[in-house]
Subunit: 232 residues, 2 copies
DNA sequence: TGTTATTCGTGTTTATTTAACACAATTATA
DNA sequence: TATAATTGTGTTAAATAAACACGAATAACA
């Protein structure tokens, strides 16, 4: 504590917007708080940054505790830093969003955190500034997904183009032309035909694709224009 | 301190990448440190978040102390949070970049901070992880300027299209077609003809435009595709 | 066993946008 | 008055996006 003596140290939290997709709607993983403060109310999943912990490790820890998953896709959004945003004590919150396959996470981990999947359209009031965090996270998701192939992070390993389209329609709450969407996705060359078909279908079975991970890594930062500006 | 007893409070700093443009090159405002730690070395402009200060106010304070300007365009980039990134004491750094008109800021403020404009291409080694911060800020500037009309923030109030083109060529370190660039910029309808011309020119005097601030606000979040993906 | 309703994959046509290139006008200087 | 540099605008071909059509697969059901 020798060199920066006159400065106050501050509590630093992380809060995470976890997005999922059930085939129809975008969902959020929210915490029904069974702890203080604000016990009984809804909030985002969060946690404090520990003093001996890298920021990135803290993010992974919090996501692991919630989902039992490692290597989750996440992205920092912004830091919320109003003096009075937490009435208990001043706390910075570094806010990020994560995308997970809704069927792949560990149920017991979620249960231990008292976490539930809530349809984005029915989301309850959240504590503190968490409502604003969700708003901004959704904006950011829409922005990013219009240009970069992050949608795949919300789907199972094998998926069909119609499923991917439903996801994009849910994200933008807008219908998309089936034929143009398919062409646009295939033109990215990011999908590999698995040779399998979606056996769940009651009509024509769609082709199951998987992501070409190598191309995905390489092309990730290129612009793709998945969604036209008017829809976005 | 009652409710979150077992958590350590952490020092929180802000570090800022200030970009400028002198008509030819992108420049950075860097600090020749005449204080500890790392006295004598180069660093970004920064400061600590005060305990009674909103995060956004801290950003504005730091930018004001450096430039004497208020209402500077800035954008949060990310938080750097490795445990050992500052050898003196663990310090989070919330990193952001700012765009200013290189001719509009207050010289005395800069002098008081021992700040200098350094050509981006000749930038010296910086302390801690500040080199990485600059790299990421430049990436972000390129990303953002390809899609949104932020370039104007680096220019004087009245400017010509050739000046704007030189700015974009400096940002992307790539030549652009004069005729296509002009058409693309004008098609945004963001520029207002001032009726004046650039009297400094020794050849044909270019039209001086100014930004249509109202349209700028409204259209800011729309995608513009100023720069093709191949150049970016 | 054939019909129906639904969804999937692919194709076509037209309009729009981008990229590449040309020429005439302006201005200080020689 | 000619020259060199730069600016504003125009043209054309290629690429992309948007709007729309059809045939194939599949389960349900008559």
């Amino acid at each position: 504590m020798a060199n920066y003596p006159h400065i106050n140290r501050i509590l630093v939290a992380l809060d995470c917007i976890v997005f999922g997709f059930d085939g129809e709607d975008i969902k959020l993983m929210l915490i029904k708080r069974n702890f203080d403060p604000e016990r009984g109310k809804w909030s985002l999943m969060g946690g404090f940054l520990e003093s001996d912990e890298d920021l990135e490790d803290a993010t992974n820890r919090i996501l692991y505790d919630l989902t039992g998953l490692k290597d989750i896709y996440f992205e920092e959004i912004k830091t919320f830093g109003k003096v009075n945003r937490d009435p208990v004590e001043r706390t910075l919150s570094i806010c990020f969003f994560a995308l997970i396959n809704i069927h792949a996470h560990d149920q017991d981990s979620a249960k231990a955190q008292n976490a539930f999947w809530i349809n984005l359209k029915n989301r309850p009031e959240l504590i503190f500034d968490h409502n604003e965090m969700v708003d901004i996270a959704l904006e950011r998701l829409r922005y990013k997904a219009a240009l970069h192939p992050i949608g795949f992070e919300l789907l199972p390993e094998k998926f069909t183009i119609p499923q991917l389209q439903k996801l994009y329609e849910a994200i933008y709450d807008s219908p998309l032309d089936r034929r143009n969407f398919s062409r646009k996705i295939l033109s990215t060359k990011l999908l590999l035909d698995t040779g399998e078909k979606n056996e769940n279908s009651t009509t024509k079975k769609a082709i199951l694709y998987k992501l070409d991970k190598e191309k995905y890594q390489k092309q990730f930062n290129a612009f793709h224009y998945f969604i036209s500006d008017s829809v976005r």
